[in-house]
């Protein structure tokens, strides 16, 4: 067990901002439920990014003002959203044509564990008491061109989430391209996890002490 205090790292907002900065103008992006949803509000000025939500909307806009919600206009997290000019609605088979057919450029997902080879576990802790629920995660990691993970570096109890090998059931094998954590941004490469950027006050050594995965400077 290691020190999980991350006061010196980035907060969730800053993590989401880093993701948003890496999404180029014109990209088609699918955002997972939870923290990834924050990314949509942080796109830099001058970029036009199109959000896909797998329940049948391309061109998802921001949350509507209170009172203007339509329970038939929701995102994958079942929250009320809006549609931008140029949006389109479609059924589920067409929506997953976009996903599986490699039409979506970037997907941002949360994680329970990511391995040094880019394996992702984010749908089940494998506990017998838990009700397994997978949603669209397995289709997304199998079909989207670039997979970004956004996640704390350590669990709430201080255990590593960046691991040599996932112990939880996989969502996909070798699918993650980049990991945005509170302590660093890491790229999955054939040689190991390349540290792309360190949060202020975080050392490479500290990162490496907190994972058995192979990190590269």
């Amino acid at each position: 067990m290691v020190n999980g205090d991350n006061k010196t790292g980035w907060d969730v907002q800053q993590m989401a901002q880093k993701v948003a900065m890496d999404i180029p103008d014109g990209a088609y992006v699918n955002l997972g439920i939870g923290i990834p949803e924050m990314v949509s509000g942080l796109v830099p000025e001058g970029r036009e990014v199109i959000y896909h939500t797998e329940n049948g909307l391309l061109g998802m806009g921001p949350v509507p003002p209170t009172g203007a919600e339509d329970p038939e206009l929701i995102n994958a997290g079942k929250k009320c959203v809006t549609a931008i000019p140029g949006a389109s609605y479609f059924h589920h088979a067409d929506s997953f044509t976009m996903i599986r057919g490699r039409h979506i450029d970037i997907c941002v997902l949360g994680a329970l564990q990511v391995s040094e080879t880019g394996d992702l576990a984010n749908w089940s802790t494998g506990e017998p008491s838990a009700i397994p629920a997978v949603g669209g995660a397995m289709d997304l990691v199998a079909g989207v061109k670039t997979i970004y993970v956004i996640s704390k570096y350590l669990t709430k109890t201080g255990a590593p989430k960046i691991v040599k090998q996932c112990t939880y059931p996989l969502t996909g094998k070798g699918v993650v391209d980049r990991i945005y954590t509170d302590l660093a941004v890491l790229d999955v490469t054939v040689r190991g996890l390349q540290v792309r950027e360190l949060a202020p006050g975080i050392s490479f050594e500290y990162l490496q002490q907190n994972t058995e995965a192979k990190l590269i400077r």
């Binding site: 329970p71 059924h91 088979a93 289709d139």
Partner: protein, 237 residues
């Protein structure tokens, strides 16, 4: 003359038999045919296999159908939702069976069922527990898993507008599984917010052509499921 309009939701669900496989549209509450599900509760058919993305919220709609012990097995991608209480309880007791399917594979299996495609290969779930026991095959160096079509005896679907031929249009993201579920059932049963005269729906914008639809019932002011859940309503009322 073709007239698929039936008088009420009881007529709409008539003939659903014990042991039937039923597809139910909706992604959470959006597109969920609450009134048809309630009619199915009144109707009473049991030992159902239900194909639906979720398992319902609170004690109304799909959750109420499960709570009324009419469902033997669920085929879905995400059996949890914020307010799902009924399914988890029965599942933990071992009183209901679950087949968990990735959402895209679920959609494609339903679409295949409607399109006369018995099976197809997909990259989703390869190297995960959900592909265990399933056949895999390599195409161009990549591994894919064989998935089989799903068909149903009946589909219960909610749409926005319908005509007597069964042509349908939907509302926003409430479209979700409706169109493919209409294609994959022997009898697709649809509740429409409004039945319009033949010809009122532009042929260019029809989402579900009438050929896929068996019965249509008008339900003018369908329930807002989340309100019912917030009020802790239970069906039967």
């Amino acid at each position: 003359m073709i007239d698929k309009i039936v008088r009420d939701t009881a007529d709409a669900v008539s003939g659903i038999f014990d042991g039937a496989t039923i597809m139910i549209s909706g992604f959470g509450e959006a597109g969920s045919p609450v009134e048809l599900i309630h009619a199915l509760i009144d109707h009473g058919a049991r030992e159902l296999t239900v194909v639906s993305n979720n398992t319902g919220s609170g004690h109304v709609g799909l959750a109420a159908l499960i709570e009324n012990r009419q469902v033997r097995k669920m085929i879905c991608s995400f059996p949890r939702t914020t307010n799902s209480k009924v399914f988890p309880e029965l599942y933990h007791k071992g009183d209901i069976e679950l087949e968990l399917v990735p959402q895209g594979s679920l959609a494609e299996r339903i679409r295949a069922g409607g399109a006369g495609i018995p099976a197809f290969y997909t990259p989703a779930s390869v190297n995960t527990p959900l592909a265990e026991g399933k056949e895999t095959r390599v195409f161009n160096g990549q591994t894919f898993v064989l998935e089989h079509a799903i068909r149903a005896d009946f589909s219960l679907v909610k749409c926005h507008k319908a005509d007597r031929h069964g042509n349908l249009v939907y509302n926003k993201t409430a479209r979700n599984f409706g169109p493919i579920m209409c294609t994959a059932a022997e009898t697709a049963i649809v509740q429409a917010r409004e039945v319009v005269p033949l010809g009122a729906i532009d042929p260019e914008v029809v989402v579900t052509p009438g050929i896929f639809v068996g019965r249509v019932v008008e339900v003018r002011n369908p329930a807002d499921e989340s309100k019912l859940v917030a009020e802790d309503r239970r069906y039967p009322w």
